[in-house]
Symmetry: C2
Subunit: 661 residues, 2 copies
Amino acid sequence: MANWIWHPGSFELYHSMLLHNRRTTTRTYEGGTRKSIYYYPMWRIDGPRHNAILEKKATINKPEVLKFYTNTDTANMVVDGKAYPRDSEVRLEAGEHTVVLQGYKKLGFPTFYVEGDTFKTDRTYVVGGADDKAGRHAGYSDYYTEPSHSPEVFRFCYERMYPVSKKEINGGTLFDFGKEVFGKITLDNLDGKDRFVALGESMEEALDVEFCQIGLNVSGDYFLSEPVAFRYIFVPELTGVETFVAFEFLPLENRGSFECDNELVNKLWDVCAYTMLLNSREGFFDGIKRDRWVWAGDAYQTNLVNYYLAFDKDIVRRTVRILRGADPITKHINTICDYTFLWIASVWDYYLYTGDEDFVRDIYPEILDMWAFIEPRLDTDGMYKRQPDDWVFIDWSTFDSNGPMCAENMLLARAYEVTEKYATLVGDDKWAEHARVRHEYIVSEINKRYWSEEKCAFVDDYKSGRNNVTRHANIFAILFDYTSEERKEKIIKNVILNDKITKITTPYFEFYELDAMCKIGNYEYMTNMLDSYWGEMIRLGATTIWEEFDPTKKGIEHYEMYGGKYEKSLCHAWGASPIYLLGKYALGVIPTDVGYKRYEVKPNTMTFGKISGKVPTPNGDIFVSIDKEKCEVVSEIDGGTLILGDKKYPIIKGEKLTIKL
Amino acid sequence: MANWIWHPGSFELYHSMLLHNRRTTTRTYEGGTRKSIYYYPMWRIDGPRHNAILEKKATINKPEVLKFYTNTDTANMVVDGKAYPRDSEVRLEAGEHTVVLQGYKKLGFPTFYVEGDTFKTDRTYVVGGADDKAGRHAGYSDYYTEPSHSPEVFRFCYERMYPVSKKEINGGTLFDFGKEVFGKITLDNLDGKDRFVALGESMEEALDVEFCQIGLNVSGDYFLSEPVAFRYIFVPELTGVETFVAFEFLPLENRGSFECDNELVNKLWDVCAYTMLLNSREGFFDGIKRDRWVWAGDAYQTNLVNYYLAFDKDIVRRTVRILRGADPITKHINTICDYTFLWIASVWDYYLYTGDEDFVRDIYPEILDMWAFIEPRLDTDGMYKRQPDDWVFIDWSTFDSNGPMCAENMLLARAYEVTEKYATLVGDDKWAEHARVRHEYIVSEINKRYWSEEKCAFVDDYKSGRNNVTRHANIFAILFDYTSEERKEKIIKNVILNDKITKITTPYFEFYELDAMCKIGNYEYMTNMLDSYWGEMIRLGATTIWEEFDPTKKGIEHYEMYGGKYEKSLCHAWGASPIYLLGKYALGVIPTDVGYKRYEVKPNTMTFGKISGKVPTPNGDIFVSIDKEKCEVVSEIDGGTLILGDKKYPIIKGEKLTIKL
C-alpha cells in the first residue's frame, strides 16, 4: 500500500493553519448587537510549502509499472531524468532507477501518490533538489493511502444528531443535545431575519445571550454553521425553529478500557474518553469550545492518555509536527518556554509506547533545530534564564517567576535527558554526549541551588531570596527522579501532603501530581482526587472534563475564567488523565522497553474492590483483571511480566495467566 | 492616498512563487510526441505568509472616519481593542488611538486597505502581535492604491497584436509578429486534434518542431495559451488557422532617451529599451523566453539600466524582495554566492539614484539576516571560502575556481562597503564599524594575496599556484577602486587590452567591463563594442538583445546554449547595458549625492558627432545635448553641475544652460 507523500510537515502546517484560524469569540457592538468574530492566533502561524520535490533511488530485480497521481497545479514524475505528467503510467525494467516527484500548488500544498512496487510512494522518498531540507524523509499519514484520498481534506466522519430536548424559554427556543457535541449546526424554520444564536456548554451560557462565549450570526430561513462546540443552542425571540447537527469526529477506536466496582469512577472514565474523542482532531486540541488550538503542554498529557485509550500513532505524530511549526524558530512553542521542553520530551513517550523509530529519525533534525533556538537563550552556564519574550507558564498558579524558575530547569533537564536517547538512536554520538553532560549538570545544579533545607523543598527561585515553595517543581523532582530518596520523602511530607502549600487547581497539573504520587505508591491520594475533584464535576453534571475546577465555587462561578463569564472550557483534554493513571497504575501496564518489546503488568486494586480493563499496545491488547481473590492477565503480545508484590510471572502471548491471591 | 498593505515581503513572495513556477520546456516522448512540460525551480521557492497582523498607534487632533477593506478569508480591524469586521466604518475622535489589522487568507496572502487621514494604510503601519517580524514596516506597492485594486492580481496591461506575416510552409502555418513579443496566444480555426504548436524567438526555432525550446499543447477548435514569449508561431500540419496575441506588459514610461548621429547605436538603444520592457514584470526577469526567473546578478545590472530608462522605483524594490525570499536563509540567492553579494550592493545603487531612505530602513534587517547567513560560511579570517553547495558563477567563462576566488572576495568587500553605508543611515554604529573594518581588511588582503607582479594582474586564486588570469576580478578592481592607480594602469595594459586574455562573451560581464573602461575614460573601447558586439546582433536582425553573443558563430549556431539547439535566450535583460553606459558616460549624468540632491553632468560625444537625450531623476528629468559646437543642459531639478573639461557650471533648475565649445 502506498501513501500520499509531501514535503515533511506540509500536511500538518496546512491543517494547523486552517484550524488555528478557526477560533471565534463574541462581541457586543453599538446598540447591543452581538456578533461572532474571528479571534486572531496568539503565535505565528506558518503555512505549508507550495513547492515540493521528493525523490527515491533504488535497484529493482523485476520490472514494475508506476502510476503517478498528484493534487498539484503542475507537476512532473521524473523517471531517470525524463519528465512525465500527472496520470502517466511508466514501466521500469529491472535495474537502478531514480524517481523524482516535483510539483507546485498555490492553494494548499503539493502531494504525490505513485502506485508501484519498490517505487510506490511512502516515507522512503526523501526531499531532493536544492531544497534546504534535502535528504529528510517524505511526510505521510496513515489516513491517506488510496489514490482517491485528498490530504487537503481532513478525514473526519459525520453522524447526524438531534437534540434530546427542546423548550420555549424567554421568548426563544432552547435545544439540549444531552451532552457536549461538536459539529455543523443546521437551523430550519427561521424567519429570515438577522439574528444572533447563542451556544452554551452550559444551559446558563446559552441563555445568557449577552455574555455567551460562542454564537452564530444567522440570517435567512435556513442556516448551516461551520463546526462549533456546544451542548445547548438558544435561538432568541423565535419559536418553531428546528435543528440537527452533523457531529464531526475522528473514528478512533477506544482500544483501552477500564471498569471497577465504583460506578462514579467508571462514569468519569467514560467522560474522560468522550472528552478525548472531542479533542482528537487534526492534532490533540486543548478544548473544543474556545481555543480549539494545539498547545504543547496539553498535548504532552493527551499523548500519554492516548497510549491507554485509542493508541493512535498518527495523531501524535501530527500533533508533534503541528507544534513544531515551520522554520525559522523565533519563539518558544505557543510562546511558552516550558511547552518547548515538554514538546521535546513528548517524542520520548511516543517512542517508548509505540517503538516507532522512523518517526524519531524523521523528527530528530527538527529537534536539533529547536535546540539551536533554545541554547543561545540559556544562561552562560547553560541553565534556564528568563528571556523578555518568554511566557513562563508551568500552570495557572502564583509563582515567584521573574527569575530562573526551578520548574523550568527541571523541564530543560528532562529535554536534554530524552535528547540523549534520540541522539543515541540516530547515532549522533556528539549530541548524545553533549545532552548527557548538560542533563547531569542541570540536575546537579538544581539540587544545589534550589533546595531549601529550611523548607524541605525546592523553591521557585534561588536568586530572589523569597524561598517561595509551590508544588510544581517538587512534583517534577519526583516524577523525573531528579533528587535523592531522602529529599523525595521530605517533599511528600512538607509539600505534597502539606495543606498550607497552595493546592493544584487545574486538571493540567493534577496530571503531574497524581502521576508522581502513584509513582511513589500513594494510590489513595489519586483515588481520593478522582472522587473529590473529577467526581465532583461529574456530580455537577459534567459530560466532559473542565479546564479548571475549584470545589469552593458555586453555580455559574464555575464557568468563569480569564475574566469572561463563560470563558472556561468545559471540555478540556488535559482533564482526561484518569485514563492514563488508571491504565498505568491500576491495571498497571507499563512498557519497559520501546514499543512494548518488554513490559510489566503490576495491577493494583487501590481503593477499589475489583478492577478490570484493557491496555492497547502496538501489536495487540493486554487484558488485566484483579480483585481480592485472583488476578488474570491475557495478552496478545510477548515480552510481559506480571508482578504481584515481590513475585514475578512471565506472561505468555495468547495464554490466560491466572494467579490466586 | 492610502496603500494596500501586507506583511512585509508577502506580495513579492506570492508573485515570485507564481512566476518561478511558470517556466516550461519541451520534451519528446515515445512515438515522437512533443509536449510542453513544467520546469521545476532551481532554488527553494517560498510562499507568502497566510496570516498578517499590522498596527499603528497615533494621536490625532481632529476626528476621522476609517473605512476598512480587506481581501482576506477572515479579518478584523481592531480599534482601541474593539474588533470590527470588513467594510466597517469607524469614527475616531481626537486623541490617541491604536488600530490593529489582523487577518488570514488561505489562497494568496492577506492585505488590508483603510481609508482615513492619519490612520490610512501605508508603510507607517508595522508588524504587530507575537510575530517574529514585529516592528517592521508594512509592505506596500505604488501600484495598489485604490480600494478596487487587488494586490494578488499583478497589474499588467494588455494590447491586442496581430502577426505581420503568415505563410504556409512544410505543410503548416508560420506566423511572424515582426519582433519578439510576450503574451497570451489565441489560435482559431483549429481542427479539433491534439497537436504541438512550436514557438520560436527565431524562425529556425519555430520551424524546428523537434527541438524548439517552447511549445504549446493544443486541442480543440480554439485555444488560448498562458503568456509565452516568441516572435514566430508554427502550427504544423494545418493551414487556415488564425492567431492574435494579447501582449502583456507593464506600462512603464521610458523617461530616459538617447540619440546620436549613429543610426545603428540609436537602433540598438531602442532594442535595449524594448528588451527592458519585455523583462520588466513582477520583478526584473533574466530573459522572457526560457527561465523567466529573477536572478540577482542580472537584476543588479537591470536596476542600473532602469535608473537611465523608466526610473521605476517600485520594480526595483519588488526585485530586491523577490530575491531575498523568506526566512530562513539556507542558501545563497539563486544558490550563487556572487549574487548574494551583488544583491546587497544593489540596494546602494537604489538609494543613490532614488534617495528612498524608507526602503533602506525597511530592507536593512533583511540584509543583516543575510549577513548572519554569510559570515559563518566565511574563512576563519573572514575572507570568502568556497562552501560545498556554493555555485561560484561570476560569468560563463573558465576560471581557476575551486578555491577562494579573487572576484568573489571583491564582491564580498563591496557588500561590506555598502553595508557600512546602510548601517550608518539607520544609526547602527556597531555594524557600521564592523562593516568598515571588514571591507578595508578584505581589500587590503586582496591586494596582498591575489596580485601577481609577474602577470601584472590579479589572479583567480592565490592558493592553487596556477596564477590564472581572467578579466573579471581585474575589472572589479577598477570598477570598485580596489587597487592603486599604478596597478590599474597595469591591468588595463596587461589584461583589458591584452587579446591573449580570454574575451568576455556575455553581455552580462560586458556590462562590468565597459563600465570600468568608461570609468577610466576609455570611451572608444565602449563605442567599438557597441558596434562590434551589440551592433552585430542588430545587423543579424535581433529585435531584442541576446543572452550571449559570439561573432565567430554562424547561422543557428547563435541560438545554441547549455547543450540545447535553441536554448539561448534571445531577449535577455542583462544585454541592455548600453542604455546605462550611454546615459552615465555619454550624456554623463551621475548623482553625487543620494536621490540626485547633487549631481554632475559630464557629457562626452565619444566617437559620435553629436548626442542628446534625457536622464530621469526622482523629481524631474535632465536634458543634455552636445556636439562639436555647443553643449546644452535643461534640468527640472536643482543641485547640478555641468562639467566640461576642467570647467564647471552650476545648473539652475528650469533654465537652459548653453555652453559654446
